[in-house]
């Protein structure tokens, strides 16, 4: 029986390649186990490199086209706006501008630039750069992807002199137009032809505490300390964002010391690190809320009904009874492990200037199933034989609760809410759908209840604006940005008043009033504000400033504070020199690596001998 020679060669080649690859990998395992300890022995430059797990994809580091948060967080450390949110309480504070004033009707904003502001390459930062940046966004639609909405109300941006910028608005507004627009250096960007396609991933020139040095898909983002930062250079040399595609892997890296900081953990992941030596876990109050939206009878721009929400929900009493049947504190404990703050209004406590802090008497919709049952009894919704109430047309009240299939929290919250609503005689069917579908159906009003949530910006204007009658969608659901498919003339009045109120205290009252009013309408049952769960190597770094002071998150702030303030342990005040060496266990890995290498080597030798023997056999 003959067989093709090619096959023989193929097999031999395969075996050889396999042995080679395996021995190569095993051999490197043996050599590379030595590297961690070698790296530790390096000089202080390694101690001053702060490594952060980068858990999401970076779309681009171009400040005009960036949309995903991973890139945005790096850009926030890099490019300063005119005015930014302070570390103490998210209050407005000077960044490129030192001070600002606004004319009486709120249409002309004049900013005085700081005299000592410089770009990272040493060139002075002037009003020219500011005007140039605003013009880029205002005149080029391709550069509006990121910040376009923020320049819509601007009619002109001028520079009367090198230290003054004058922004003129087409309509008065109370929100400062100088925040959030990152100013870029004119002398760099004017040389770029296709600005929208510019990757901005190498040796960028910027004004914040760190500048982008390099970015690569597998090597992550490396940022160098900007020596010219006007508040003073940061205390470390570099920040490296190391790409990790799963938080669990990043947590292992934190345990081994491959990264120094991991943000955005789940409560289970957070708990797993609580007893880890040299790792400090931190739970900071954040700006994102979680809610159950209740469809009050969605209507389009022309006041025509849209969607298929259950008509019984148009009765305020039914919506309020639903809110009263849901036990928020149990949800917070069981679903979030207590890592959050109980909520009523949409604007979270991290914005003390705008946060409506309800008193007990203001919490008219607090958890009370007995009261909820009574409300429904009094309103004439009688219970049927099966315990389910019937609506005014005699149909049993059956509601859908829609959640996102990607979210484990939605599924477990629904597990609780279903029986709670059954207690007040309402039957609930839980439906989980893909994110895109939830967005689409909620915009078209095709829901009874659904899980929703928003991260709130420091200025509440936008969040309030999407609850006005003007932001309702067209009949086909397009061109709409409405948050709850609800609007009310009284709310519109409050929105319009705060929109132009230049007195901070008066505006704050109006905003709180609007938030409170929406609460009483029971269209968006806000359950909690999320905590941001973070962990870092306390044997290497400390001194993080939180925003707001003492309670807020370290990562993902409105401004650079958390990572600007990071300090090597050796330079921390009162640092007693308890240098923790990490050589434990290194003898075992080396032994194991050598062992693997040896086994593979022996295997290879045996294989070669066998081959030689058999071929000589064959010849005989």
């Amino acid at each position: 029986m003959s067989y093709p020679k090619s096959l023989k060669r193929l097999t031999a080649l395969g075996v050889a390649a396999g042995v080679f690859l395996f021995s190569a990998t095993a051999a490197t395992a043996a050599t590379a186990v030595v590297t961690p300890s070698a790296a530790q022995a390096k000089t202080s430059s390694a101690d001053k490199t702060f490594k952060v797990a980068l858990l999401n994809d970076v779309d681009t580091l171009n400040p005009f086209t960036n949309v995903l948060a991973a890139g945005a967080n790096a850009l926030a450390l890099s490019y300063e706006p005119l005015v930014e949110n302070g570390q103490k309480s998210n209050e407005l504070t000077g960044a490129i501008a030192d001070s600002w004033e606004v004319n009486e009707d709120g249409t002309v904003w004049t900013f005085k630039l700081g005299t000592d502001r410089k770009w990272s390459d040493g060139k002075p930062l002037t009003s020219d750069d500011v005007v140039y940046t605003f013009d880029l966004i205002m005149k080029n639609p391709d550069l509006q992807k990121s910040k376009g909405a923020l320049v819509e109300g601007l009619s002109s941006v001028e520079a009367p002199d090198a230290e003054t910028v004058k922004i003129t608005l087409s309509e008065p507004q109370a929100a400062n137009p100088g925040v959030q627009i990152p100013i870029v250096p004119k002398h760099v960007w004017e040389k770029i032809d296709d600005k929208a396609a510019f990757a901005n991933d190498k040796d960028a020139v910027s004004s914040g505490p760190y500048t982008i040095e390099t970015y690569g898909k597998s090597s992550g983002i490396t940022m160098a300390t900007n020596p010219n930062y006007w508040r003073g250079a940061a205390k470390i040399d570099k920040i490296v964002f190391v790409p990790y595609k799963s938080t669990d892997a990043a947590i292992q890296a934190l345990r081994t010391g491959e990264v120094d900081f991991v943000p955005d953990m789940t409560s289970a992941q957070f708990g797993s690190l609580e007893n880890e030596p040299n790792v400090e876990t931190y739970s900071g109050k954040n700006r994102r809320y979680q809610a159950v939206a209740i469809n009050p009878g969605a209507k389009d721009k022309n006041d025509q009904p849209m969607g298929d929400g259950n008509p019984v929900l148009q009765d305020l009493v039914v919506r309020q009874a639903i809110v009263r049947a849901i036990d928020k504190s149990t949800l917070l404990d069981k679903v979030l492990g207590g890592h959050g703050t109980l909520a009523a209004g949409e604007i979270p406590s991290v914005y003390p200037d705008f946060y409506w802090k309800p008193t007990d008497s203001e919490l008219t919709l607090s958890f009370d199933p007995a009261a909820a049952n009574k409300m429904l009894d009094d309103a004439g919704y009688a219970k049927g034989a099966d315990g389910i109430r019937v609506d005014k047309t005699g149909k049993p009240i059956k509601l859908r609760l829609m959640g996102r299939s990607e979210s484990a929290a939605h599924a477990s919250m629904a597990e609780f809410i279903k029986p709670w609503l059954k207690d007040i005689g309402i039957d609930v069917t839980v439906e989980t759908k893909a994110s895109g579908q939830v967005n689409e159906e909620s915009e078209q009003g095709k829901y009874d209840m659904y899980f929703t949530g928003w991260g709130i910006e420091p200025d509440p204007d936008f969040q309030l604006s999407i609850n006005t009658c003007a932001s309702r969608p067209n009949a086909d659901g397009s061109a709409g940005l409405n948050e709850s498919n609800w609007c009310d003339p009284e709310f519109d009045k409050l929105y319009a008043a705060q929109h132009v109120e230049l007195d901070p205290e008066k505006r704050s009252e109006l905003v709180k009033e609007a938030d409170k009013f929406k609460y009483t309408q029971a269209v968006n049952n806000v359950i909690w504000y999320y905590d941001s769960l973070e962990a870092y190597r306390s044997d290497r770094f400390g001194g993080f400033e939180k925003q707001p002071d003492g309670v807020g998150p370290i990562y993902g702030q409105n401004g650079p504070w958390g990572f600007y303030s990071v300090t090597p342990v050796s330079e921390l005040e009162g640092a007693n020199s308890e240098s923790t060496s990490q050589n434990s266990g290194s003898s075992l890995p080396i032994g194991l690596g050598v062992g693997i290498g040896a086994v593979v080597l022996i295997g290879a030798v045996v294989a070669v001998i066998m081959r030689r023997r058999s071929s000589s056999d064959d010849r005989a």
Binding site: M1, S2, Y3, P4, S6, K8, G14, V15, A17, G18, L21, T25, T28, A32, V33, P36, K51, D57, T60, N62, T65, V67, Q144, K145, G148, A149, L150, E152, A197, K217, S218, S219, G220, T222, K238, V240, P243, Y244, K245, S246, A249, Q252, A253, R255, T256, E258, E406, A434, S435, G436, N439, E440, W454, G480, L481, P589, L592, S614, D617, D618
Partner: protein, 353 residues
């Protein structure tokens, strides 16, 4: 040594036999010429490719949701701005116009521009396909070599401890969820023993060059390659074992033994090459699929490859990237199947005239 010729009760025929007995009606006649055979197969591949290109466009647009809304989720935007973004991506055009643009661009080798990354799709795929090929290619090679080798040993000594232990271990690993196994491997060998890095393809912020870089990459590859290989090698093992068991009753083996060949040589030189035939097709089909199968492993070990890009684009409804990866993945499978068809004819003399 005659006991090896009797078939044990548990060893039912595998895939190989049926394929040999029942002629495939799609197969060109065996007497047909090489050129004709190749042409028919190539034509079939081309038709599949056209179908893939058509499907690639429409399949992802059936998914409900608006990519522009997903892109701007939770951010301050105005309806006018959304409209501008839709315009730049051509999403306001009628579907048929979008389809025509897609087709003409495709003919020019242009897969479009990603919504999310603001980068040409060919570029996005280009910079990720290397790492994916490296990872899944090495894993495929390892699993094929190990699987086939254990498979033929196990068949030859079926019922022995070697056979039972190896088939058992392979089947356990085969049924284990990849994510779970990967996490376990990661926690043990990277997290606790600190033998290997916890993720990525190379050490970040290091300036390793040349051989050092090669070592660094190899070091990062160990855990993902082992995880991927551990999960799939059972496939090759079982097929190889089954097809060798088929061959073991062959008269030609008795002849070989009668010639006085050592048992080892009878197995390696006579039985195995014949048993390999049905596995070749399997290997090539698996090679096509293994690239798309790397998604989970790439995610656990933060490997900068194509799998994660696809996953990410699906959640963002980044149509151009989805279309691009779909077409590329499918093209690889089609080409591999085509090669399998050709190679099968080369390897099996009975298919040649």
């Amino acid at each position: 040594m005659t006991d090896t010729l009797s078939r044990g009760p548990g060893d039912s025929p595998g895939l190989g036999l049926e394929a040999d007995i029942a002629p495939d009606i799609d197969e060109p006649k065996r007497s047909s010429s090489w050129a004709r055979y190749t042409l028919v197969k190539a034509g079939g591949a081309a038709i599949s490719m056209v179908m893939v290109i058509l499907l690639g466009f429409f399949a992802f647009r059936i998914i409900p949701g608006d990519p522009v809304r997903l892109l701007t989720d939770g951010r301050q935007v105005s309806p006018e701005q959304l409209d501008i973004i839709r315009d730049t991506y051509g999403l306001n055009d009628p579907l048929i116009v979008q389809f025509f643009t897609y087709l003409t661009d495709m003919l020019k080798g242009d897969l479009g521009q990603s919504f999310v990354y603001n980068q040409p799709v060919t570029e996005l795929i280009g910079e990720r396909i290397g790492p994916t090929l490296l990872l899944s290619g090495t894993a495929a090679l390892l699993s094929i070599v190990v699987g086939l080798w254990i498979g033929q040993r196990a068949a030859w000594k079926r019922g022995s401890f070697f056979d039972k232990a190896n088939t058992g271990i392979a089947l356990i690993l085969w049924s284990v969820p990849t994510f779970w196994l990967g996490m376990l491997v990661l926690m043990t060998f990277a997290g606790s023993l600190k033998l290997f890095p916890t993720g990525g393809m190379m050490t970040v912020a290091s300036d390793a060059q040349g051989f050092d870089l090669f070592l660094d990459i190899a070091h990062h590859m160990v855990l993902p390659v082992l995880t991927m290989a551990a999960v799939v090698y059972a496939h090759y093992l079982m097929v190889m074992r089954a097809s060798l068991l088929e061959e073991m009753s062959g008269d030609y083996l008795t002849t070989a033994r009668a010639k006085g060949l050592r048992e080892d040589l009878v197995r390696r030189r006579h039985a195995v090459p014949n048993a390999l035939l049905p596995t070749v097709t399997l290997i090539f089909m698996a090679l096509g699929g293994i690239i798309s199968g790397a998604v989970t492993v790439e995610t656990i070990f933060s490997w900068p490859g194509l799998g994660y890009l696809t996953f990410q684009s699906l959640s963002q409804q980044d149509y151009p990237v989805l279309q691009g990866t779909f077409v590329v993945f499918s093209a690889i499978v089609i080409v591999m199947n085509f090669f399998a068809d050709l190679l099968y004819r080369v390897l099996d003399p009975r298919l040649r005239k």
